[in-house]
């Protein structure tokens, strides 16, 4: 059995693809691959590929926040990305993924929603952030937060014409991004912690803890997943791992993009 082999390797701190336990697969980021979206991103982590598209529309504000824009995050686990994904409305897994990604972006106040008020109490901008895995080979949430962040950073707010209608031909200012939250999901099995698990590795994990950390090392969201349990010492160790690793991933995304983008261009030319 493949699962038993994965566990056997982990005993020796080894993994199927030769990575260290705390090592991510290669991350490739493509900024704004789609023109119809107000902002978009494609993120690959190894064979996992996800897309986030941002659309902006008018909406009514929430009654308890009359001068704040609205952020909505949804995930569609379409059957094209994995044989286990079934057609139909978002199930509890899709709902959970969307809400965990949403919480990291929202609680870190990455987007200043108060800047998105058009008429107080009546009309505000709603940012629809939609997450589509294209190929699921594990670690969708970490990939999803990166893609969300990159998509938001590339989002331009459409202009409003004299009649008060949205003019998407003329994109005005950039959406203002205040923070760079990164989600690190730590998997636990047989007392070992692993990062960036593949789909196969995820199947043997007892539990996972997603931790979203800002550039100020503040924790803004956490979610325990899986049916295994954790001790308080586990959680302490996982928090320390997430704080450390989030810096490395953030640095890669913000400053390592050159190499990353070149790779994407090469991909494009291959496709002709």
């Amino acid at each position: 059995m493949r699962a038993e082999y994965i566990l056997k390797l982990l005993e020796k701190d080894e993994r199927l693809d030769g990575r260290k336990l705390d090592e991510f697969r290669k991350i490739v980021i493509e900024e704004n691959p789609f023109q119809r979206a107000e902002g978009s991103a494609r993120v690959k982590i190894g064979k996992t590929e996800v897309i986030v598209g941002v659309k902006m529309d008018f909406s009514e504000p929430y009654p308890d926040a009359p001068n704040s824009g609205v952020l909505r995050t949804e995930a569609e686990l379409t059957p094209l990305a994995h044989p286990d994904f079934l057609p139909g409305p978002p199930d509890e897994d899709a709902t959970e993924i969307a809400r965990v990604i949403d919480r990291g972006i929202r609680e870190s106040e990455t987007v200043n929603l108060e800047k998105l008020c058009i008429t107080e109490g009546e009309k505000v901008w709603c940012i629809y952030m939609d997450f589509y895995p294209i190929n699921h080979d594990g670690n969708l949430i970490d990939a999803g937060t990166i893609a969300s962040l990159v998509a938001l950073k590339n989002t331009k707010i459409p202009s409003i014409d004299e009649k008060g209608k949205i003019n998407r031909e003329e994109l005005k200012e950039n959406l203002q991004i205040n923070h760079h939250p990164i989600t690190i999901t730590i998997g636990k099995v047989n007392g070992k912690f692993i990062l960036d698990p593949t789909f196969e590795e995820e199947q043997v994990l007892e539990s996972r803890l997603s931790i979203t950390v800002t550039e100020e090392d503040k924790i803004v969201a956490m979610q325990k997943m899986g049916s295994g349990t954790l001790t308080d010492d586990d959680i302490d160790a996982m928090i320390d791992i997430a704080v450390k690793k989030s810096k490395e991933i953030r640095e890669l995304i913000l400053n390592g993009t050159k190499e990353v983008k070149q790779k994407v261009k090469a991909d494009k030319s291959r496709k002709g």
């Binding site: 009654p63 308890d64 926040a65 978002p90 509890e92 897994d93 709902t95 959970e96 969307a98 809400r99 919480r103 929202r106 609680e107 870190s108 803890l209 800002t214 090392d217 503040k218 924790i219 803004v220 969201a221 956490m222 979610q223 325990k224 997943m225 899986g226 049916s227 295994g228 349990t229 954790l230 001790t231 308080d232 586990d234 959680i235 302490d236 928090i239 320390d240 704080v243």
Partner: protein, 237 residues
């Protein structure tokens, strides 16, 4: 998290007069729904949850059955009148997520491998919401499972923690829930010292997260005692 100019802690006292680490008045009862195999009512201050357990019973439709193990189905639902503005009936995204994490919070306490093809169904209804409804639901589910006589490794205790006005607190009420700097719900098996649910949103230093979790594990003993008391009472009456 929303912001408010209102002070949530004045002279070391919270809005409802509690100290930072003080829990609200807790009331727990079992056997409140005669039709169910097990049931409970749990109240933390003004937050009221009732839970019913049916099963282990055969799972239908058949294609959902697992040949090697039983499954848990957990439905967390808020009554339309449980909040200020009427909640639309039907599961919201929030309720779908809570149902999932609450299911995973109680599952480790059960011996599901003993019930192949069966389900343990847990239904929780929030009748009145004043913060910390998911942890209240988990306490109610734990009690209802025990009341149903479903064998358990341990009871599951749940409690929320957080931070307001630079102070770490326990058992958030609704207003604190809305305006806190962070909300950390935790569920755990107190005798086994294993955490089965952990979520967090807000903004905290890593050390604060660790401290809140330890505070919850400590204060959770009181919640555990209340659960045991409610179960004992059933047999003494």
């Amino acid at each position: 998290m929303m912001k408010t100019d209102e002070k949530l802690i004045i002279d070391g006292k919270r809005l409802d007069g509690r100290k930072p680490d003080e829990l609200r008045e807790i009331e727990m009862k079992v056997g409140v729904i005669p039709n169910a195999d097990g049931s409970s009512m749990v109240r933390f201050g003004k937050t009221i949850a009732i839970a019913a357990v049916y099963g282990p019973r055969k799972l239908f439709p058949k294609h959902l059955q697992e040949s090697e193990t039983g499954v848990v189905q957990f439905k967390y639902d808020m009554a339309t009148f449980s909040v200020d503005e009427r909640k639309r009936p039907g599961p919201s995204r929030r309720e779908i997520e809570i149902s999932k994490v609450a299911r995973l919070a109680v599952e480790p306490a059960l011996f599901l491998e003993k019930y192949p093809k069966a389900t343990v169904d847990i239904f929780v209804e929030i009748l009145q919401a004043d913060g910390s409804t998911r942890v209240t639901s988990i306490n109610a589910a734990s009690l209802a499972l025990a009341d149903a006589g479903v064998p358990m490794r341990d009871l599951v205790v749940a409690l929320s923690g957080g931070k307001i006005d630079d102070t770490l607190i326990l058992d958030l009420c609704g207003k604190e829930d809305n305006y806190s700097d962070a909300d950390v719900p935790v569920a755990f098996m107190p005798n086994k010292k294993e955490i089965t649910l952990l979520q967090m949103d807000g903004r905290l230093k890593p050390e604060e997260v660790k401290e809140i979790i330890r505070n919850i594990l400590h204060a959770g003993k009181k919640v555990y005692e209340k659960q045991v008391e409610a179960l004992k009472k059933k047999y003494s009456e």
